[in-house]
Amino acid sequence: MLKRLNINYKHLPILVTVGLFILMYIFGSMRYTGFMSSQVFLNLFINNAFLIILAVGMTFVILTGGIDLSVGSVIALTSMVAADLIMNAQLSPWLVIPISLLVGTTLGLINGCIIHFFNIQPFIVTLAGLFLARGLAYLINIESIAITDPFFDFMAKTRIPIGDSFISISVVIALVVVLIGVYLAHYTNFGRTVYAIGGSEQSAVLMGLPVGRTKILIYTFSGFCASLAGLVFTFYMLSGYALHANGMELDVIASVVIGGTLLTGGVGYVAGSVIGVLILGVIQTIIIFEGTLSSWWTKIAIGVLVLAFIVFQRILVVRSNVKKAAGANNVDIKESSPPLKTKSM
């Protein structure tokens, strides 16, 4: 059946994930009035635009078997730098935006260089990055800085109508980043090297791939995404604050992993991570719509929903893998299925 649909078995986990996402959405729609509106759906994107951007960068990092813990703090630092430059230094947004984007990119570059040249575990390097970025944000200002700049206002408040509903400019930015991410992952040398490193770093070196350069680029890219997400977050909040996005790195990592990427590297899709973000978003929306949970039941409910999702995902994926293995012999082994990864979603 799968063959007839022209679906590659490699895409199964992601299909399962999408399916479960839709199921969850239907569940919410049946249970709560107002859940089914298109705006609630679009809000998933509006509210999570920065997470989507972070997830794209993080997917690349995790695909190489690494991790980047500094992204949440980089958001805080970027928002702080942007707010400080706009409000206190009175710079033009056209200067502020590139400078802010450089913040995370530079930090990412430094992370990547330390990881590569001194062969230190990414976890610890980026953990130091986490401390450092937030610490620097505190040094700029420990109070939050509200931004009242026409350009930022425009970015924050412009609504792009879609039917009766709307999305924000940030959503467009996020979607563009996703497209770039997909393109990078599947249609460039760089992207394929990322997958190769994740499959076996040692082999990638021996195959003569530019492993070091790619690893440094990965962390730079993740840092860039974090800064871009920081800007989007700044549009979202219209303020800079050292405590922004505290602990967000875990949300991102969770989204990426829920979206089907293996932490050990080599397996996963950018699009999967986006769905991972949306799934966490739906879980949160369901809980808000439920509206009767006390603080602690909220936490327990999040745990239970994530659990239910993960377990279903595992069971469905394992089942279909068994079927796939069993079916393989009936189909002629040599028959080619549609090219892998070409239709990268």
């Binding site: 107002g34 986490l130 937030r134 408040k157 219209l238 405590l243 509206g291 009767t292 603080s295 909220t298």
Partner: protein, 328 residues
């Protein structure tokens, strides 16, 4: 690693003994209490006892008034709070109450609420937005004033003594509004006596008991007997610090004077035991007052933009007597 995420700490206010009095609010009668309202309430989290008491009060008041509550806990994250407000708008609630995690950053979503015609009520913390048409009113307290109060008590306490008086300060979570404001208010007052009062150490205890204890231990190790006063941004840290002082072998409240903020039950117990000198009050039980404000506003009455509440200050000698009446 990392920071505690309690950007809000504690606050609120009004006289604890008459919780639903409400300073200058103009709620008056209950606007005919006919309709059943749907009220969305976005709380910061449940990071402290104070916060839990605040949540309970709000829930009870809304339910007692016969309205429907949509409650959402933001787990101390501003982005969650914005999401919650958006979904309140999607659910077309009649009014939104929220305790902002941070002062800034709510402009866009409040604009959305305004466009949807839903009034927004701020609880216990203001927002820093120029356009004040975005919210109906703010009911809450003034952290800077709390800091001033703490300092004034101290100045009074030491008025007969010679300086220098050495103070150590346990700050709240770095960057959180209560921490910043309580520090500011306190410093503002003591800056009038630059020779006499000196803050010799100031470090964050992240509003928690265990950190309060740990930091105080370190203070005692390095400055020991020199410390005269402990100013703690909340009672919990003060209680932790009291333990550290006792373990170090000094007498809390005697060798080191202890000032807390919040007036939670634990502080009263400590004061009743003679281990703490004073606590500046911050009352979380603002639910009934908030409900009155909402009803009044929806009934078309004009209400003040800022309804602040009087804050008390309690000392050791009052503790014994008041302890049984404390609800949180």
């Amino acid at each position: 690693g990392g920071e505690s995420e309690k950007s809000s700490g504690e606050n609120g206010g009004s006289d604890s003994t008459e919780t639903d009095s409400g300073g200058s609010d103009s709620s008056g009668d209950k606007g005919g209490d006919s309709e059943k309202l749907v009220i969305g309430f976005s709380q910061v989290g449940a990071e402290s006892e104070w916060r839990t008491a605040n949540t309970k009060s709000m829930k009870a008041a809304i339910e007692d008034a016969g309205h429907e509550l949509k409650f959402s806990d933001a787990q101390q994250k501003q982005e969650n709070q914005i999401k919650a407000i958006r979904s309140f708008i999607a659910q077309k609630v009649d009014a939104i109450v929220f305790s902002p995690v941070v002062e800034t950053g709510f402009e866009t979503v409040l604009q959305e609420a305004k466009d949807a015609g839903i009034p927004v009520f701020l609880s216990d913390r203001a927002v820093d937005i120029e356009d004040d048409s975005l919210w109906a009113t703010f009911l809450g307290s003034d952290f800077v004033e709390e800091g001033r109060k703490a300092a004034r008590w101290m100045v009074e306490e030491y008025k007969d003594e010679e300086g220098p008086i050495n103070i150590v300060e346990l700050q709240g979570t770095v960057g959180s509004a209560p921490a910043i404001d309580r520090k500011e208010g306190f410093e503002e007052v003591i800056s009038e006596y630059p020779e006499k009062f000196k803050i010799i150490k100031s470090q964050t205890g992240e509003f928690t008991r265990s950190k309060g204890k740990e930091v105080m231990e370190a203070f005692l190790k390095s400055d020991g007997e020199n410390i005269d006063v402990l100013y703690s941004h909340n009672d919990d840290m003060a209680i932790g610090a009291i333990q550290a002082i006792e373990e170090y072998g000094l007498k809390p409240a005697e060798d080191i004077k202890i000032i807390g903020v919040d007036a939670v039950r634990g502080a009263f117990e400590a004061m009743a035991d003679g281990k703490m000198n004073v606590t500046v009050e911050c009352n979380p039980l603002t639910g009934p007052q908030m409900v009155e404000l909402i009803e009044a506003h929806l009934a078309g009455e004009k209400i003040e933009k800022r309804v602040s509440v009087e804050e008390g200050i309690y000392t050791m000698d009052q503790a014994e007597e008041l302890l049984p009446t404390r609800k949180y």
